[in-house]
Every structure is written in C-alpha cells, then in structure tokens.
Symmetry: C2
Subunit: 279 residues, 2 copies
C-alpha cells in the first residue's frame, strides 16, 4: 500500500492525532479505474456534509485531489483509494484546538477480486445480531467512529458469507456493514431511509438517480426483515464492489431479476457485467 | 509529553492501526501521584470489561504496568497517564485480523492545575444540546469512539465553564463530557444509572463505595434536569480532577453541603481539600 500524509510519502501519524484519540474525522473509500477515482464529486459532497455535521472546517478539496492523482497515477489495474481527514492534536482532552487543522491521509491498494459469479448468481448474506443504534446528527456520514460496523462484521468468519445486514432497535433494516440494500417488490425499488442511522452510499445515490432515468419506481422507506424475505429481488451496492444480487439471505434463496440486471447494465464501472437482461 | 508504543519510546503509530481507522480500542486516563498511578485496579478492571464488551482479548496487564511504571518514575509532580490499547492493522476493511494483536500506547503529561476555589466554592456547568444516544453494549466503557463527547465539548469555549452535562433522548441526565454527576436530595446521594449509555467512572465507583462506609444512603437512578435543579447539592467527579461541587448550573446557584464535604474529606487524592466539614 502506498500512502501520503499531508501530501508527503509517510506511513505513520502522531500519537496526539484526534482521529486516533477520539475518532474525530471523516473518510471516503473510492474505486480507481484507469487511474481515475470514480464518482469523485459524490464522495467529496458526502465528505463535505460529514465535516459540516461534525462542526469542522470544509475539506481541503484541491489538496485531496492532488493527493488522489499523485497516488492513482502509479496504479496499473483497478485500485482502492482511501482518503481520511483527521483533526490534528493540540493538548489533552475533548476540547478542540482553538484553530482546527486537518491532517490528510491518502492510501491506495489494489482493488479486491470481483468473482463473476458474485455479479451473475449473487452473494450469500446473513442477518447480524448487532444493532445499528440511532444517532441522528451522524446518520449517513462516514466519520471515524466505526465500532458498530466492526462489531457486526466480527459476528462471522465464514468466507462464503459476503455481507451482514443490520437493523435498528425498532427492527427497521438499515443496511450492510459496508453496503446499501435495495429490494424489488412489485417492480418498485425500495431502499431503507437513512435518517437516524446508516450510511448514505455513493453508489446508492447513483442507483437512485439511475432508477429515475430508467423509469423504475423508487421509494426510500422503512423495510422490515419480513419485507426483505418477501422481496422479488434483493441487491447490495458499494462503491468498490458495485452491484451484487443477494443469492441467499439467512436460509432463503433469491434470484436476480430484470431490475437488478437493468441497474447492473446501466451503472458504469469496471465490475463483471452479467450477459442477460433478465433471469 | 513522554510516550511509549509497545514499551519503546515512540511518538507515532502506523496508518493501518485500527484505532485510527475505526476507533477500535480502549483507553484509561489515570492520575499519577508521587510516581504511583491511583486506583490502578479500578482502571484495569474497566479496561478489561471494555475489551470483553468489544469481543477483544484481555488487556496485557503486566506490560501496561511496566509501561506505567517506566513513564511515571520520570515525573516530579502530579501527572496524567493515558494508556490506550488499539488493534493492530492487517489488511483493509472492517473484518478483524484472524489473530488480534494489541498495540499499547502510553503517554504521560503534567497534571492540570487544581484551583482551590473549584474545590471550595465549586465550578460553573452548562447543559449541552448534544444528546448521549443509547448503545447498550458499549455503555460504561472507555472505547475510542468518542465523537459524542467531542461534539458536546465543542458547544462552548468560555473558559469559565468547566463542564457540560448530557442527557439521553428521553431526557435522563447521563453525566458530563468527562465526569460523573452526583446529586444530594433529602440527604440521599443520587447518581445516574449507567445502563444504556454514559461512562462508569473510577472515581464514581470510589464515591459509591465510600458512601457505604460513611453511612450515606445512595441510589443509582433516573435523574431529570428538573431533579438536578431541585437538588440540595450537586457535584462532579473525575479521576484526574477529583470531586468538585457545582456552583452554577445554567442560571441556578448551588452551595456545597455536608455530603460533598464528607466525600471530599474521605476520598484520598492530591486535590485541594476544603477546610470545613459542612457549609
């Protein structure tokens, strides 16, 4: 992995970094294809919303772009770029320094493998016991307090299970540990509302825009586990992995249908592309 | 500030540290007096509970003790020792490494000043708008996801305000950003239950044990803001700052009474000790 800290090659941060001490910061994970980070504007818009939600200065967009281009040019194949902003330390305690200074961390690594079967037949997914607790002011943003995701992901180590789904304490399905969920019910695309908790994924935003263009009815709504098990199609999306149908959820099997295929065909990206327009 | 990482003098951690990436870890902040960390066993017990709550290995207690003694011996006056355990990185993503390895971070700094008036007359405190959201599995422990405290502490910069109090979404008072609250009502000592959120402070535990020894009735209970404003005495406690009465909460004034004075007299520590046994 190649990395920059504040634009210079580096592999460490100081102990007083407030990202390390308190998780005070935000990050974005981007897919890099042919040397270009995909959906740059969507990622930077979410990072900007995150900084505002945390009461922190706007992100240094020009410097982040320089970091990104500097690292991505060196990549041959598809890569994953992680951009993190943390608050530089200044003294002890929760009180912020009088003047907040960002620390920029940029890391790049080769993209994971994309087995064609994951995109064609789909992936196996489980329900997590870990709940996603409401914290309205921080919903949707990628801050560095990520123990909920870590604890949910720690519930399984079977490499055959690709993702776990979390619910809130009221039983509403929120999403996967690292992906957003869409269900197709009666030819309508449904996705959990990101209001009190959850992550507002960039590929989720692209799918919502795409559904409009394709004339697929779409609703952000409350989905229960029962709603999911009754769905005609289920899919997960993530900026790095693209759109993968769910093949098995718990003990139930699903098949990718025409809506999943239409979205897979319409969303640009370097992932495997199933041939058929329907099942 | 002097610091050790895994027992060796160091001032940085690697970028892949999971404490930095996700806030995966725990910490303790101890007061050091005459070269000795106070309430060591209570701090280590809470750290152990924290590791268990996060599904992580028990803390390396012997190595932490070596780190502590190594740093504390070099301190002339009272000092603050921060011990942090983070999960070492291994690859990208929320999934934990197959075998979790701790990284130990030990930092020591001079203790803050303890103005005698803060202990005699008391401190000024405000109500925070930021809520402390329930997350039952993580209540009471000192993990590294601390944005709630940072956001609450960012609500004021008036140096005359020493602390802010947080409530949960139902209006129950939980505690300060870095201290626990006790109220005296009808000669009974009341403190918020730490069940769904909040921090189980080590000085809180010492005060609860001490109340038993002194024959002061004590109850862990639900306290509303109104209950606090009707209290006869209010005090805040923190392992580094000791016991300080609240002199002003919002726009209301309070006086330290006999219960506060009895606890200040009974709890051992290097803080200023008001002379009178009562008002």
């Amino acid at each position: 992995m190649l990395s920059l800290v504040d634009g210079e090659p580096a592999t460490e941060v100081p102990l007083d970094d407030r990202g390390l001490q308190y998780g005070e910061g935000v990050f974005e994970t981007l897919l890099v294809d042919a040397g270009e980070p995909l959906a740059w504007d969507l990622h930077m818009a979410r990072m900007t919303r995150g900084c505002q939600a945390l009461g922190l200065p706007d992100p240094p967009l020009a410097a982040l772009h320089r970091d990104a281009l500097g690292l991505c040019g060196a990549q041959d194949g598809p890569a994953v770029l992680k951009l993190t902003l943390t608050v530089q330390g200044a003294g002890r305690g929760y009180a912020r320094p009088a003047s907040v200074a960002w620390r920029r961390i940029a890391q790049v690594a080769p993209a994971p493998e994309w087995p064609a079967a994951d995109y064609e037949r789909g992936i196996r997914v489980r329900w997590c016991r870990q709940l996603w607790f409401p914290e309205p002011g921080l919903a949707g943003i990628k801050h560095l307090n990520r123990m909920t995701q870590v604890l949910a992901r720690a519930e399984w180590d079977d490499p055959g299970i690709a993702e776990g789904l979390l619910r809130d304490p009221a039983g509403a399905v929120i999403g996967g540990t690292m992906s957003n969920l869409f269900a197709v019910c009666n030819e309508t695309l449904l996705t959990p509302l990101i209001r009190n908790c959850g992550m507002a994924g960039t590929l989720r935003a692209r799918i919502m825009a795409c559904a409009g263009e394709l004339g697929i009815p779409l609703r952000e709504t409350m989905l229960s586990a029962t709603d999911c098990h009754r769905a005609d199609e289920l899919l997960l999306c993530n900026a790095v992995r693209g759109i993968r149908p769910i093949r098995i959820l718990g003990r139930q099997s699903f098949s990718a249908g025409s809506v999943t295929r239409a979205l897979q065909a319409a969303i640009a990206g370097p992932w495997p592309r199933p041939a058929s327009g329907a099942e």
